[in-house]
Every structure is written in structure tokens, then in C-alpha cells.
């Protein structure tokens, strides 16, 4: 999908948003073994420290000799042995993360997993790829990784009145109407990040439906349908009220329950939107995909409500957003869509003047005064998500951003001072 943007050298703004830092997709009681050149896992390891999750990660460095020998995977079983000696508690799952070079070395992962299962029969092993090298494949690295993380679930003949949320990096907010609505009809929502034990996580294999809330999880849910017989519904989180309503209809149809009346939620959200449009007085809006996962559909939704959307930064257009992209190009050619990674953004001038940016990166690029830096670290599905965004836009409009404070907070975040 990179055809939408000219191929170019890529520039990266500093990552200062804590939202991204705080995102987690973790299997409980698992341990991560990152295998690769020492450089590769640095960002992830330091990120783990920032979450105070460093105990979950161990690195296994491969050397030039291992690469030249052509069988670096041979060192993994002994490394697992050594790792188990170092861990206080034996993990239920060991996730072996490999990097870009693995795609070129032709590692036989199946053979490796068989070997590991024979040698460590009471531990489940999976391999996961962190390989942006294959970003241009239709199954992108993030999609493949989610599929791999869910692949450890056991198939069950039992079907419970539970729905799995698939694709949310953050826990569903308790304020989201989604939870209340499902509670009201006696259905429970399950999320990977809400599970404290592996057994609890494994219970997700007994759910009756997978609700895919982000396109990145479509592939995982399709594989789960095949392997676990759990049907799926593609109900990507949206800021468009019509799509939100359709999503709920879709879910209720799938579970064969009568949908409660949602008109009060919608009415309240419509009111909030119209108040926000008025309050922001036509200020130009700029969006990137740092604060929300899908900037293009958000741009279309905000434009529909009457916000003055001017510019959208995106890097890789994913399959689910093509329709919105084409629609915007056709119907709103004045809304510019820029490659947020093109080298040119380094010197991009702010021609919009006073504007409100949704996403830290676009705000940083333009030196904007008003930024919705991030959504709180929760998943705000449905009408609540829209209302929350409106609140944050008003807050951003009323506040002048302090870039130095953002820097200090992102660097010192949660970490202990030296004693």
C-alpha cells in the first residue's frame, strides 16, 4: 500500500507520546526471548524498563560467527535452558522474538519449535517476528505478530457467553458504553491485557465471538476462526456515529441477542460534537496516527461533523482505510494527506497558523500550540470514544502545549531517580 506515497528517505520525529509507550500486548505468565544482533532489541528493552516490565524480557545476542555459520537458531535451545535457570518462576509460554535478518536467513521455525517442545514439554513456545523489512507485504509485521500471540490458545468444544476483543493495545475503558451494553444482555467481554494468568488468557479460546476492533487484528481473528472455530466480526473502532451504530448491530446479530436502545448514547454524542465544532471556531485540524490508530477514517468523520480538517499525516495506508482515503481524495481534495515519514517533514513549514493537532508528531512537526497529545491509556470504543476525543480537543484548544514538559515527562516517565 506504500504506492500511495512516493518512495523516499524516512525521517522520524522523537517519540514522546506516553500513549504509545504504554501500549501492551502481552501474554500473561510469558517470557520474551529476543534473539538477534545486539542492536535490534535496544528500543524494546529500554521500553520494557519504562513499563517496569524488564523482568519479562531477556536478550540473546547473535554474533557474526553465528550468522556466518548459517544456523543461529542452534544456540536457542541451550539459551532457553540457561534462561530457565535464571528465572525465579517458570514461564508458561516463551515467546521467541526474531528480527529482520531472520527473513533472510531462512530459519526453520517449525523444526526449532518441535525441538524446543521436546526438550521443554511443559512450556509452550511461539516465535514472533519483529521485521519492518516486510512492511510492504499484505500481512504486515504487526498483523502477523498478533496472530502468533493468539496461536497459543487451546481449542475448546465449550462455547461461553463471552466476546473477545481482538486488536486493542489498551484495556477497554470502564466508561465505554460497550461494556455496559454487553453486561445488560449477560455477555462478558474478554481482553488479552485483562488476563492475569495464562489459564485465564487461555479461556479466551472458549469465547463465542471475536470482535475485531482494529484492522491489525483481522488476520489473527481469521486464523482463530480456522483454528479455534470462533467466528469473527470486523467492527473496527470508529469515530463515525453511523459506523459505530452498524458495529453494534453487527455484534448483536452475531450473538443473536436483541440490541438495547442506543439512541440516548447517540443523542448525547451528537450534542457533544456540535458543541465542540462551535467551540473550536473553525480552527484548522491536523491529524496523525499517533493518538488514534487510524488517522484517515478519523479525518473523514471529523470533516463530516463540520470540523475544519486541513492535513493528515500517515505513513502506511492499510487496507481498511483505502476507501476513506479514496473518498477524501475525490470529495475533499483540499484536505492534504502527507506521508508522515517523508524526509521533507523535517523542514515542513506551518502554513496553517494557529491549528489544533491530534497526535504529538504532527504537532511537533508544525510547532503547533494546541495538541491532543494522546488519548488516555485506555481503549475508548464506541460513542464514549467520540465524546472523549471531543473533550480532549476542547482541552487542547484551551491549553498551550509545553514541549519541554512533554520531553521531560517522556524521558523521566515513571523511572526512579538515582538514590
Amino acid at each position: 500500500m506504500e504506492k500511495y506515497f512516493e518512495e523516499s528517505l524516512q525521517y522520524y520525529n522523537p517519540k514522546a507520546s506516553m500513549r504509545e509507550e504504554n501500549a501492551k500486548t502481552l501474554i500473561p505468565e510469558s517470557h520474551e526471548l529476543h534473539v538477534g544482533p545486539s542492536a535490534c532489541a535496544r528500543r524494546l528493552s529500554i521500553g520494557a524498563y519504562q513499563h517496569h516490565d524488564e523482568d519479562r524480557i531477556t536478550n540473546l545476542y547473535i554474533t557474526e560467527d553465528d550468522i556466518v555459520s548459517g544456523s543461529y537458531e542452534d544456540i536457542i535451545p541451550d539459551a532457553v535452558d540457561e534462561l530457565l535457570e535464571l528465572l525465579e518462576k517458570k514461564p508458561r509460554v516463551i515467546i521467541i522474538f526474531v528480527t529482520c535478518i531472520d527473513d533472510l536467513l531462512g530459519t526453520d521455525h517449525e523444526a526449532l519449535l518441535i525441538l524446543l517442545k521436546e526438550r521443554f514439554p511443559d512450556i509452550r513456545f511461539i516465535t514472533c517476528h519483529i521485521d519492518p523489512l516486510v512492511m510492504d507485504r499484505s500481512i504486515k509485521p504487526g498483523m502477523k505478530m498478533l496472530e502468533q500471540l493468539y496461536s497459543v490458545l487451546d481449542k475448546s468444544e465449550l462455547r461461553e457467553k463471552c466476546i473477545n476483543l481482538i486488536g486493542n493495545k489498551f484495556l477497554l475503558s470502564n466508561k465505554s458504553e460497550f461494556r455496559n451494553i454487553m453486561d445488560s444482555v449477560g455477555w462478558e467481554l474478554k481482553e488479552m491485557n485483562d488476563c492475569n494468568t495464562f489459564d485465564e488468557y487461555n479461556e479466551m479460546g472458549k469465547s463465542s465471538l471475536n470482535v475485531v476492533v482494529d484492522p491489525v487484528a483481522k488476520y489473527a481473528a481469521e486464523q482463530m476462526e480456522r483454528a479455534l472455530d470462533i467466528p469473527l466480526r470486523l467492527t473496527y473502532n470508529s469515530y463515525d456515529l453511523d459506523i459505530i451504530e452498524k458495529n453494534y448491530e453487527n455484534i448483536f446479530k452475531a450473538i443473536d441477542e436483541k440490541m438495547p436502545k442506543l439512541s440516548d448514547y447517540r443523542k448525547s454524542t451528537v450534542k457533544k460534537i456540535s458543541e465542540t465544532v462551535k467551540y473550536l471556531k473553525n480552527i484548522p485540524i491536523v491529524i496523525d496516527n499517533g493518538a488514534v490508530s487510524r488517522s484517515i477514517p478519523l479525518a473523514r468523520a471529523l470533516d463530516k461533523y463540520g470540523f475544519n480538517v486541513k492535513l493528515v499525516f500517515d505513513g502506511t495506508i492499510i487496507f481498511s482505510d483505502i476507501e476513506d482515503l479514496e473518498w477524501l481524495k475525490e470529495n475533499r481534495p483540499d484536505i492534504k494527506i502527507a506521508d508522515g515519514r517523508n524526509f521533507n517533514i523535517m523542514n515542513m513549514k506551518n502554513n496553517l497558523g494557529d491549528c489544533l493537532c491530534i497526535g504529538f508528531s504532527c504537532g511537533y512537526t508544525l510547532g503547533a500550540k494546541h495538541i491532543v497529545e494522546r488519548l488516555p491509556s485506555c481503549f475508548a470504543f464506541g460513542y464514549y470514544g467520540v465524546e472523549l476525543l471531543m473533550d480532549l480537543m476542547i482541552h487542547a484548544y484551551n491549553t498551550v502545549v509545553d514541549y519541554e514538559k512533554i520531553r521531560e515527562r517522556s524521558e523521566a516517565w515513571k523511572y526512579e531517580p538515582i538514590k
Partner: protein, 389 residues
């Protein structure tokens, strides 16, 4: 198995060292990678990235380009950016994937240079070596390319090996220059923080080189071989006896003989300093010369340079080696990055936290110590007192 790292993160790699070295110059830097290597540098290894916009880019390498060996795509992208940004030079850096498929970074650089008529440097960085190798290689390449012999400038020195991965972006780099100036010497070129291409051009005019980190040693030897410039290796630290240090520089100049500042009769005793070798050496020197503590071992975290080491200093090649060394329970005090705590806590030693960007990155770079002055002197003094308990 010595390649497992349970408690420590991976350290900064060679490509980060190269980018960091080139940060202050008006060049354009391209890491030939998919995304992750550039993100490592930008987000974890460059304390100056936030608030500064520098033309340091990722090539956006994809699998098909790597497999097909499509170097032309990289060249096209670079030329496009060059035409818009007009950099003074271009540097292209390797990463693990180009290493695996055998991309000829020097060859691509040559091809680009023929076409663009500006200097283009190719670096065969791999992501498998530490940052100091990258810094060292960068300084040598730039010197070989730009430096021109000229008549000596009286009482002038180059400082070799200043970099943000060892010294962070607080006042350390400026403080070191001030120490030199205060002693009546002029800094010709401050490789590689706050320097410019014209300063590199004139760097052979310096009378002496002051090496301030391990990464400066190869350049120091090169300049000694090529232009007969002697070097003195030490990092200004604490309330150094500058008079003594600069008399050593005078001696080096007079005798035309290089030297590493190090006390006599050192031995493997009660203190272990784990970190960058020359900085660790310099802390040891303060302990020895100001406090009379000579039982100090240096554990080299990023490779041991024999030119700087005592007979007993140790090359800590893996976490396992660090753990084993600490298990000897020989040391009462360990000085090193705060992330060593989990390992040090398994011994009887007390850790004195001394952050290092190349280890703990942004977790501690906002608490970086000021090397010159009271803060460091007090820190070393506290470590000395603890070692005597």
C-alpha cells in the same frame, strides 16, 4: 552460553555511534535499514534529537530490495533528498540486513560521490559492534578525507572522542573545553561535539591531542603516525589537578611522546568501575591521586583497549562475566550504570550509580553527572568513603 542478557539492555551499536558523531556537522546521514535501527538511534541513543531537526534518515529498506540487491533505489532516494537539502557531505551506514546480504556501502558511496561531486562516506556498520567502534571509524574517515597539514599553532590541542553517548548533552563537552582553555591552551578541533569541517581541516596544526574517551585512541595513533602529534589520554574529572595534567601535556609536547595518565602501583582491590574504559580510568585516577586508593579495577563494558589498560583490567564481554566477577565478592564498591543494580545486588558490593547513555539511554540521561567539578568530586569522595567501611 555467554550471549544471554537477562538484566542489562543491549548497548548502543556502531551505527548509533556514527550518527552521534556526525550530528553537529552539516551532512546528511542515511541508515540503510527498514525502520528499527533508525528508531533505536533517534529514540534511545540521541539525547539531542528532541528539539533539533537533523537530516538523519532511514533508507526504508524492504525485503525485495534486499533480496534483489536493488541499490539503485537507495541511490535514487538519496539523490532526491540531496537535491532538496544540499548537504555538505553524505554518509550512508550499514545495519544488520545489509550486512547479511553483503551490501557494498563503500561502493555505493563511491557511485554517489561520482554523481554528486560532494564527499560521500560509506560505513560498513553492522549493528553487531558497539558504538565506540562507530565513533572511532567516523573520526578517522573524516580526518583522512579533510585534514590538511599546516604550520603548528602554539599551545593548541584537539580533543578526541567527545560524543553524546559517553558525555550526554549536559555541559560535559563544554566543561572539558573550558578546562583546556583555563590551562592556557586553545582547542583546535573538538572531535566530535561542537566541531566543524574547517576545524577538522586544520586539526593537524594542533601540538597535542587530548583523548577523552576510548573511541579517540585510534585517531590519536593515526595523527601521531601521520603528523607526529603526541597524545595524552585522560578525561577531565572532578576537581582534577589541572596543573599536574597540563604539565604532563607540556611534557608530551616537549618529548614528542604520547602518554596515558595513570598512577603507579594500581592493583585489583576494593573498587570495581564498570563502564567506558577511559572514563573509568579517569575516575580511578582521581581515587588514586586524591584519595590514595589504588585498589581499583576497571571492567571494560565496550571492549578492552590494551593501550589504556593495566595488566589486571578486565574485558567484560557478557553479562555472565559481570555476574561472575561480582560473585567473587571481592569489591565493596561498584561504580557503574544504575541498570547494573540487579547484578550488583547479588553481591556484597554497593553500587554507585554513574549513568551511561550507551547503556541506560533515556532512563537516566536527564540525571547525567557533570564530569568536571564538585558534583563528580563529591561522588568519587562518597565512593571512596563507602569503600573504606
Amino acid at each position: 552460553m555467554s550471549q544471554l542478557s537477562r538484566y542489562l539492555p543491549p548497548f548502543s551499536s556502531d551505527y548509533s555511534g556514527i550518527c552521534s558523531s556526525l550530528f553537529d556537522l552539516d551532512g546528511m546521514v542515511v541508515i540503510h535499514d527498514a525502520h528499527c535501527c533508525s528508531m533505536n538511534y533517534v529514540n534511545m541513543d540521541e539525547p539531542r534529537w528532541y528539539g533539533n531537526k537533523k537530516p538523519i534518515f532511514s533508507s526504508g529498506l524492504r525485503e525485495i530490495d534486499a533480496i534483489m540487491g536493488d541499490d539503485d533505489k537507495l541511490i535514487r532516494k538519496i539523490i532526491k533528498a540531496y537535491n532538496e537539502l544540499n548537504p555538505e557531505f553524505i554518509a550512508i551506514l550499514g545495519s544488520p540486513v545489509p550486512t547479511i546480504v553483503g551490501v557494498d556501502m563503500e561502493g555505493i558511496a563511491q557511485e554517489l560521490e561520482n554523481e554528486l561531486d560532494i564527499p560521500v562516506f560509506g560505513f560498513s556498520s553492522t549493528g553487531l559492534r558497539y558504538y565506540n567502534r562507530g565513533i572511532s571509524e567516523t573520526m578517522i574517515k573524516l580526518t583522512k578525507r579533510y585534514a590538511q597539514e599546516g604550520s603548528k599553532v602554539d599551545k593548541s590541542v584537539n580533543s578526541l572522542g567527545l560524543n553524546a553517548l559517553d558525555f550526554s548533552d549536559n555541559s560535559n563537552a563544554e566543561d572539558i573545553k573550558e578546562v583546556i582553555k583555563f590551562a592556557g591552551w586553545k582547542v583546535s578541533c573538538s572531535f566530535m561535539m561542537g566541531c566543524s569541517i574547517p576545524e577538522i581541516v586544520n586539526s593537524p596544526q594542533a601540538e597535542v591531542n587530548v583523548v577523552v574517551s576510548q573511541s579517540g585512541m585510534d585517531l590519536a595513533e593515526y595523527m601521531e603516525r601521520t603528523w607526529g602529534i603526541p597524545y595524552v589520554a585522560f578525561t577531565p574529572m572532578g576537581l582534577n589537578d589541572n596543573k599536574m595534567i597540563f604539565s604532563i601535556i607540556e611534557e608530551a609536547l616537549k618529548e614528542g611522546k604520547s602518554r596515558v595518565i595513570r598512577s603507579e602501583d594500581l592493583y585489583d582491590g576494593e573498587i570495581l568501575i564498570i563502564g567506558e574504559q577511559l572514563i573509568a580510568n579517569s575516575i580511578r585516577e582521581v581515587l588514586a591521586s586524591h584519595y590514595g586508593v589504588k585498589g581499583v579495577m576497571v571492567g571494560c563494558l565496550f571492549g578492552k583497549d590494551k593501550r589504556l589498560a593495566t595488566a589486571f583490567d578486565i574485558d567484560l564481554k557478557s553479562e555472565l562475566q559481570i555476574a561472575r566477577k561480582l560473585k567473587e565478592n571481592k569489591y565493596t564498591v561498584v561504580i557503574g550504570d544504575p541498570l547494573l543494580k540487579a547484578l550488583v545486588d547479588k553481591s556484597q558490593a554497593r553500587l554507585f550509580s554513574f549513568p551511561h547513555v550507551a547503556v541506560s539511554s533515556k532512563l537516566y540521561w536527564h540525571q547525567y553527572p557533570t564530569f568536571v567539578g564538585d558534583e563528580m568530586e563529591n561522588f568519587i569522595s562518597a565512593a571512596f568513603k563507602a569503600s573504606k567501611k
